[in-house]
């Protein structure tokens, strides 16, 4: 589904991704862990098409297409979704209008009919329940004045609505208390399916107690320097990331 090969990307003069390899097959959940500043968000942004990064080498294919050649919205149409580490506040942009525009843009791009108002509302209420979100959310502006936890839940709510093929969750767990974490994890688990893959970026093993990953990767200095199963996350929990420099694994 997603094949990233030798991906290199810079911001300004600085090379952040330094030859990154990652393959995600349908239905798999991959956890990416790593120290602050190692390039996890950069990977998420480059894959979803954010401006400001220059890809200087390597490739990324998604659903058989050259992902890096596509506009951000085209990537979303193909089924890519990014749950932002820092969701953006959009004052004055009504949530319902936003969700409808997003869903119908994707449906249209896939040659499906746009949802009418009634079916849309029914669908949206069903998804709100999964995330234990109040309907008053629909009347508010997107993320404007939301608490940190509300913003994160809102990201997963959007994911539930848009039903992507591959979701990248960038530190969705940070800043969540244990109850909110459970709600978010339940929301994510409800979306697990043999066709849907996820890349879960996290700092803490904690989230992985709730969302069981198939693979765990350590990203450091712009590369995946170790991969393993769930037990790698447990190991990291005890060792921390201090060993990375000590072992001199990254350039």
């Amino acid at each position: 589904m997603l094949v990233v090969n030798g991906l290199r990307a810079t911001v300004g003069e600085k090379e952040i991704l330094q030859g990154l390899n990652l393959t995600v097959n349908p239905g798999e959940i991959h956890a990416i862990m790593g120290p602050n500043g190692s390039g996890k968000s950069t990977l998420a942004h480059v894959l979803s098409g954010r401006d400001g990064y220059t890809v200087t080498g390597g490739s990324a294919t998604f659903a058989g297409q050259d992902l890096l050649a596509l506009e951000p919205e085209q990537r979303a149409h193909l089924g890519l979704f990014l749950a932002f580490q820092y969701p953006v506040e959009l004052p004055g942009v009504n949530n319902t209008y936003f969700l409808k525009a997003a869903l119908n843009s994707i449906r249209k791009a896939r040659g499906e009919t746009e949802l009418d108002a009634v079916s849309f509302l029914r669908l949206i209420k069903e998804k709100l329940k999964i995330l234990h979100l109040d309907e008053s959310l629909l009347k508010r502006a997107v993320n404007a004045g939301f608490s940190g936890g509300e913003k994160k839940r809102n990201e997963i709510f959007q994911m539930a609505l848009l039903e992507p093929k591959l979701a990248i969750l960038d530190e969705t767990d940070s800043g969540l208390d244990i109850d909110a974490l459970r709600v978010v994890a339940d929301g994510v688990n409800a979306l697990r399916s043999p066709e849907r893959s996820m890349i879960v970026v996290t700092h803490y093993q904690r989230l992985l107690d709730y969302i069981q990953p198939d693979f765990v990767h350590v990203l450091a200095k712009g590369q995946i320097i170790r991969s393993g199963g769930k037990e790698l996350a447990l190991e990291l929990e005890t060792t921390g990331y201090g060993w990375i420099d000590a072992e001199g694994l990254a350039a």
Binding site: E71, E73, P87, L90, F98, A101
Partner: protein, 432 residues
Amino acid sequence: MTDHALMSWLPQLAPAAPAWLATLQAAARAQVQTQIAAPDAEAWRYTSLNHLLEQGFVPIDETITALQPDDLDEVLIPGLASRRVVFVNGRYAPELSATEALPPGVHLDSLRDVLAHDPDAVRVLLTAEPATVPLFMALNLAGLDDGLVLRLDRAAILAQPLELIHLSIGLDQPSVAQPHHLIVLGDGAQATLVERYVSLGAAVYCTNAVIEIQLGRDAVLTHERLQTESQNAFHLSGLSLRQDANSRYQSVNLGLGSRWSRTELLTQFCAAHAECDLRGLYLAGDDQRIDYHLDVNHAVPNCTSRETFKGIIYGKGRAVFDGRVVVAKDAQKSDAAMSNQNLLLSPQAEIDTKPQLEINADDVRCSHGTTVGQIEPEKLFYLRSRGISAALARRMLCLGFADEIIHTLHSETLREHLSEQVGQRLESAPWD
């Protein structure tokens, strides 16, 4: 200087005019001449009059009678207001208006009528000082002809909004219309007025309207002004507001249409604890230019004013925001906050923004802030990452920016209508 192009905007003085009116109009004429000879450099710093003068506008003494009520359909906003007063090219059009069953204490007349039958009544309502008003208000006064006279007695309430429509139709010659409205709310009276400027067709014409408003003690007026004229129209409008104690004036000024427009808002607090809230949204694109000039006078203590204007400028559009708040020496405890935020969508778009506070008292709360920015890339990316096209995403962000003003309109119908209008305008906006 009598051959100046602006002098030709003036009709002949009516021979039957009462002496006081003749005196007033002569004073207004003199002010026009003074202003032409030595224009107020600050007031005209960003705007050249040439484009306006080149058009050769002349007043047309002609009442348009050919219109049928259903000709109005294309400019009406369904569900907005059941009562409306329509002016066609500056003249009251009773056959297009709907003013039945006004509540008790609400009096609605045309200025022509009142001038003909009870001219002295107009005399007390006209408060604009011809010798001190800005150029185009003086021109309007000098050419005083018709307008709306709306009077609310003490405690009278006009609960349903009244729509005041300026409908303009092009004539063979580029014409100028100069309606002059007088709105007077007695103590404790309340009303909502939706003032609209619309065009039928796309001819070149000019409107130079003045609206004088007096609010008695505790009176409340909600005033929404929607300028959506054709892209060939020239638009000038002047507001002169005087507020008595405890009165509240809240207005929204939307400038979406016309090729060249200038709006002057002059407000004056006459007694304590009055509040004045001026909000505005302007959209200037293509070759449009749109100017706002605010002159808010805190002449007495304990009054509050808010000036909140936002602009979206694209293509080769140009806008001017020139806002001035003056706090007099004795006007202690004045509270004023002015802000002007602008979104520039193209490199050629231009805004001149000049907020000024002139504070002569020492115990006041006054602030002003200005921003000029572009659409923020991270917001745009957020929307696009959800599958929304760049063009729609930009429009959504502009509408989000505009919403702070639009959502303050009194009715849902109007809010939806205006969002749609802004959205449509932005659909044609070039993005770079």
